[in-house]
Symmetry: C2
Subunit: 367 residues, 2 copies
Amino acid sequence: MDNEILTIPAPDLKKFCCDVFQNAGLSAEDAAITTDVLIAADLRGIDSHGIARLHFYLDGIRTGWIKPGDNASIVQETTVTALVDAGGGMGPPVSHRSMHMAISNAKEHGIGLVLVKNSNHYGIAGYYAMMALAYDCIGISLTNSYPFSVPTYGRQAILGTNPIALAAPAGKHLPFVLDMATSVIPYGKIELHARASQPLELGWAVDPRGLPTRHPEHVVRDVGKGPQMGGLLPLGGAGKLLGGHKGYGLMLMVDILCGVLPGSLFADLMYPSTPDGQPLPAGIGHLFAAIRIEAFRPLEDFKKDMDELQQRLKDSPKAEGEERIVIHGEPEFEKARERSIKGIPIPAKLARQLRQIASDYGMQSPL
Amino acid sequence: MDNEILTIPAPDLKKFCCDVFQNAGLSAEDAAITTDVLIAADLRGIDSHGIARLHFYLDGIRTGWIKPGDNASIVQETTVTALVDAGGGMGPPVSHRSMHMAISNAKEHGIGLVLVKNSNHYGIAGYYAMMALAYDCIGISLTNSYPFSVPTYGRQAILGTNPIALAAPAGKHLPFVLDMATSVIPYGKIELHARASQPLELGWAVDPRGLPTRHPEHVVRDVGKGPQMGGLLPLGGAGKLLGGHKGYGLMLMVDILCGVLPGSLFADLMYPSTPDGQPLPAGIGHLFAAIRIEAFRPLEDFKKDMDELQQRLKDSPKAEGEERIVIHGEPEFEKARERSIKGIPIPAKLARQLRQIASDYGMQSPL
């Protein structure tokens, strides 16, 4: 009974989510944008960043550390760059508008770069990178995020899982869409393993002494409760032997570009709280960039070569026991095709949560 | 005797290297730039990319696949972007000029992006990223490179070790300088292990069947001799368990930005040869970008926060058995300080090579 999974058509889930956000104080436009970002994650199979996060955003609005109004303003700009202060508002709307500014600058001048400070969780990084595809641009999106990760040789979770996303169009093939945390695994995977009492793989995380651990409970976080020991390992794992210092370097690079450069928070300063433990705006930052392909070569030539690159990879011989070489974004496009027909699966626990949200806002549940 | 290591003062090695390049047909300026890039690698302790590569560049000039003259031209540009055709010339001079263009655009407009196509090996990626530091900019440098790496689930070396470099200034602390191959280890490490008959770590490379191997001889390359099976693993290792698909994604991202976007070669098309096996220009591409810090916030504020970020990492508790958390670039700055005083170590084999080069060009050996 508790494992029953309902399936809801994406449009119904969207309608519900958008109505909830408007009831919670978002403008119609901001509600629509935020909904689109969340449901895109569900469609693409990134369930941890989809409708399952609705309660997280609503809690943020309710407790006041996410400001539902449009508090964003442009602080500084050149013809091709801008710094936007999100004013502690919702992440997705300010991110959507900032990525559009970057694209618009790229269309006119070849490249656009917009940084956002004082923001909150913006959903999946890949969403904003993919916005560039419709404009024949390459899109880039980075963000710093809740400090779940330890640096190489450290044992305190002091850096975010700081994702990197880049999207580039192709011709006959699907666009290339890289959307990756710079930790080995996302934090959600720890929670799943903890809930199922499943051991972790060695190389995913360290315990409070900083040693590789198989115990998910060593890493489960009491989010917002000050310095915590143990955490996710950067891509490449513990130490330098398998390149962990490189993953740590990428993590730090994202923190510099999204935290330090725009004058936002960084490292364990992110997600601050008042002395009596009330959460304050996350203070995270984002980077959005777009590159116009035709500033460098004809679009058709670029697409032809993107197809050739993908085809060469797909045709190249497989490792023993493997049948397919995958291009980044492919599994998510396949999942989105499937789920836009079959609907989005809603596990029992999430269904209860959504029913509760509907009841809280005096709405009809979509289930 | 064969293990004796001579030490040469950097200025003497520079003088020799610069004279050799001029004798080989480079202009005084191009010789000076190329020398500076190589000796910077030696000073920083990246011996594989320093004077040890002199013979590689000279071979390229002698056999004609590196053109010693200045064949570079700007193909297309906007106020902030440019595409440069290197015309099969030496990598470092065209890269140096292109990075300067990116910096100059960034100083004026906040960001500059210059892509280079039809180029050859450009040395260490970090050199160009670090050029931005003197101009209070963040510098970025990427290149695609000889296909030593396999994609996730593949067994053919079809992608380069495609490095990513980013440099950002700090205040009291050293600048952050990330300069990393997107493979777990650089190819040079395979050669070292092969020479010493030392086993590889599992997770560094795969054998011709695509399975993780400890045998360096499975991976040693007959460079330029067509499709070869087995190779270096992307950061994260084999399969997806420890995030190998992420390293593969970063590798592919660099190939798209440096190979496909500028209209240069990519994947196993790089480093082509004639039907009778004569090497042609490598056809690789580079990306150079600079971001002006003051387009976003006052320089002093940025530097203060860079110091704080570094200090927080350094002060954070260490894993059991570890004493120090390192910031990227630190070990190389320390090494450069040491070697600029004590000189650059030249192992016996390299000393013989340099003496041979001196004799070939009728010059006095620096040793």
